[in-house]
Symmetry: C2
Subunit: 209 residues, 2 copies
């Protein structure tokens, strides 16, 4: 009963994730989700209000889990730049380990601006805020330039990670996402420009991080 209910709900969500990833939300049929989950069409409606509710549930529950993992993995006892590096690695790893989830997030996050406007996405905003707080910490620590706007930076970083993940998904995952993580972090932390100082890298120059 109670456990059965939870099992079934979770099974439907897992099947829906698979089907949405395969066809995209609008081309997915409820009956296909039902078939995939091994339940009748009508059963879906015992657990979800409608098709869109399934999509939102997938997203919210995944974000819950991602947020939980992120907070757990990125402890409180590190400097901001180390946290940032860990964050980027973790994001890539999570996408890599849950490719179907990654696809759904790609689909849903951008599905339609109308949808995005109406559905206030609290969990996602929290995820972004996590980044902003790391930046603020870094500014207090004197590690990150005060001129950097945490609100702009959090969007930039997320956008960059998301676009890389999208490409990875579209390329049928032929390469490793996680292996790009450090390069991405390096660029955000140090920039792409060669130092403007005339005589290059001397022995006293620190390797950042």
């Amino acid at each position: 009963m109670a456990p059965r209910r939870l099992d079934k709900r979770a099974k439907i969500l897992r099947s829906a994730t698979k089907v949405f990833a395969r066809n995209g939300f609008y081309h997915s049929k409820v009956s296909e989700i039902a078939r995939e989950a091994g339940v009748a069409d009508g059963t879906i409606y015992l657990y979800f209000k409608n098709k869109e509710d399934i999509l939102i549930s997938i997203f919210e529950e995944s974000m819950d889990e991602i947020l939980r993992l992120t907070r757990e993995e990125i402890g409180t006892h590190q400097d901001a730049l180390s946290k940032l590096r860990r964050f980027v690695r973790l994001h890539m790893t999570l996408m890599e380990k849950n490719p179907r989830l990654a696809e759904v997030i790609q689909v849903e996050l951008r599905q339609s601006s109308k949808f995005m406007k109406e559905y206030k996405n609290v969990k996602f905003l929290e995820y972004l805020q996590f980044i902003a707080e790391v930046i603020e910490q870094g500014q207090r620590e004197g590690l990150i330039h005060k001129e950097v706007s945490p609100a702009i930076f959090k969007r930039m970083l997320f956008g960059a990670l998301d676009e890389l993940a999208l490409q990875w998904v579209l390329s049928k995952k032929r390469y490793s996402l996680t292996s790009m993580a450090d390069q991405v972090t390096d660029i955000f932390v140090n920039g792409i420009a060669v130092s403007t100082a005339a005589n290059g890298v001397s022995a006293t120059d620190g390797v950042v991080i």
Copy 2:
């Protein structure tokens, strides 16, 4: 006749852009596009194969124009870092001046991975390639670190710009996008980290990747 035909086609495209931006592709009705354009439903099918063909046409023709403007505006007589700064500004300005187009690009670019997989988006790839070439130029000039992968960087930059534009669109355009451009460029060029050399920023400190 001939001119009338072109007028009508353009009018339908403009109306479709408006309608898609308002409702998202899947929630837009062909009849609404027709009404908006002041033509009959059937007329649409004299100019386009089907609804999806309208979307693809909007996108391709816009990308043509954007590419043209980008190549024109960003001449060949500059160093790579200046080009990059100009590119970012131009991208923001174009989005800001064509908010409805921006919305459609947001919708379409991510619509569904299935759609993206099937529709080889040559113009968009060219746009990304433009960024990669600027990076390669910078590496030849010695202005940009050799370790930076142009292929990764082009995605990062586009992702960052795109996410900022998406937010701007969703926020009902209450602030200026263009005014963020330089901050974005600064971060990509110089990074967010304060120099790590022990005694502050000296003239000889290099930022190392």
